[in-house]
Amino acid sequence: MMFEANLSYRAVFVLVVKRDLTIALRHRDDIFNPLLFFIIVVTLFPLGVGPESTTLTRIAPGIIWVAALLSTLLSLDRLFKSDHMDGSLEQMLLSPQPVFILVLAKVFAHWLITGLPLILVAPLLAVLLHMNELSYGALILTLLIGTPVLSLLGAVGVALTVGIKKGGVLLSLLVLPLFIPVLIFATSAIDTAAMNLPYSGQLAIIASLLFGSLTLAPFAIGAALKVSTN
């Protein structure tokens, strides 16, 4: 008695993404809370720094990106936690599907739920912070290719801490240092765009970070999940 089931990688990917999206849509807090957090953090800065538009214009890219990092960090918790608590994570790891695909699908679904809304509200916040009009395009582009990197790197951290009871604070310690390159290149791209200079160099670097983490991070996530479900 031997059984072989074959499911194409694409089918597995779609299956898992669909499942995670269904769960998220029935549990809307998960989508709105990080988004709300993002907006509130950004509004705190003018209150703290002062409403002077020149100052705000100068620090707007940094504020938006730091807030994006923090809200990604906040939303990461739901990526594997509930699956780990109710046992579906170990079922997934024991399924005959490659862990690489499963993990990639989960991270992609997470990005759709938390990263994409961030990009949609970012221009609005840029208006509030008097961001230079020239840099709107750069803001959207950097968020578009930068936030998936955050999701992927963050997933490594969550996968490592999902089995730990008080993993939340630890997670930020593990993950935030890894976010630094994205932050640096993204804000610099936006600053460069504000000066009406080409910023494709920075974008290319972020894109290469994206491809690098896309190929390497799922292995680390898979290995970490195996440790956490041990």
Binding site: T161, L174, P177, P181, L209, A223
Partner: protein, 248 residues
């Protein structure tokens, strides 16, 4: 080819080996460090630009080099533990992490204390200092992960994955910080340019560096022993050791 290595994968053998090694390493470190430090403090000629503050160099640079070297060492140990299932490699990574973190703190602190008279400020967002600070965060993450798990073997695996991810990121972080720094750097602060070191300045540096390296090795051996014992606490040989210690 690697068969001669096999006995050292046995915790008991490697424990006794490192117990025997520790006094030798300690002795070499105990000779080299005082010689190097006294030489550096009292006998090296003062730098023509920086005067006697230059003597901090003999502490700062070895500490910075070791802090990076130890991290790479931890990552190599973690990698071999993941690939070849060497449990002892995890133990050595766990033993080294706090030492590396302390050297990172020393590098940062001496950097600041050297910077104050040179640059007029304790801290500047200089590329090297910034990378060193981020390295400290990476170390703290690894140590925190080691402490977060109850099971030492699991902790070792988790921290191993993190240190490998970290070591891939170190060059990226370093490059990005350097690039960021050149982008934002004002003209007021000139970096310390690397002078071509004269021989009389180089020798004490080499001795200091070697001394600290042996210090790391000795302390690493000692801590490695502790880690091996903690991971094998239910083994008869460890229990016999513990009772022997108790009776003393």
């Amino acid at each position: 080819m690697w068969k001669w290595l096999h006995p050292y994968a046995n915790p008991e053998v490697s424990y006794h080996f490192s117990v025997k090694l520790t006094p030798w390493l300690t002795a070499i470190a105990a000779i080299l460090i005082p010689v190097g430090i006294v030489w550096a403090l009292a006998f090296v000629p003062a730098d023509y630009q920086q005067g006697d503050s230059f003597r901090i160099f003999y502490l700062h640079v070895p500490a910075a080099m070791l802090s990076m070297g130890i991290y790479v060492g931890i990552a190599i140990a973690a990698f071999s533990s993941l690939v070849w299932q060497l449990k002892l490699a995890d133990a050595s990574a766990a033993a080294l992490a706090p030492i590396g973190a302390i050297f990172t703190v020393i590098a940062l602190f001496t950097g600041a204390a050297w910077g104050k008279p040179m640059w007029g400020t304790w801290w500047i967002w200089d590329a090297r200092l910034t990378s060193e600070l981020i390295l400290l965060f990476l170390y703290l993450g690894v140590i925190a992960l080691h402490n977060a798990f109850d099971d030492k073997n699991l902790a070792g695996k988790a921290a191993g994955i993190l240190s490998i991810v970290g070591v891939i990121n170190i060059p990226i972080i370093h490059y990005s910080v350097e690039w960021w720094n050149t982008l934002h750097q004002g003209a007021t602060v000139s970096k310390l340019d690397k002078p071509s070191m004269s021989v009389e300045m180089l020798w004490p540096f080499l001795i200091c560096f070697l001394g600290f390296s042996f210090f790391v090795a000795a302390l690493g051996c000692k801590r490695f022993c502790t880690e091996v014992l903690a991971r094998n606490s239910m083994r008869p040989w460890v229990r016999a050791l513990a009772t022997a210690q108790e009776k003393k």
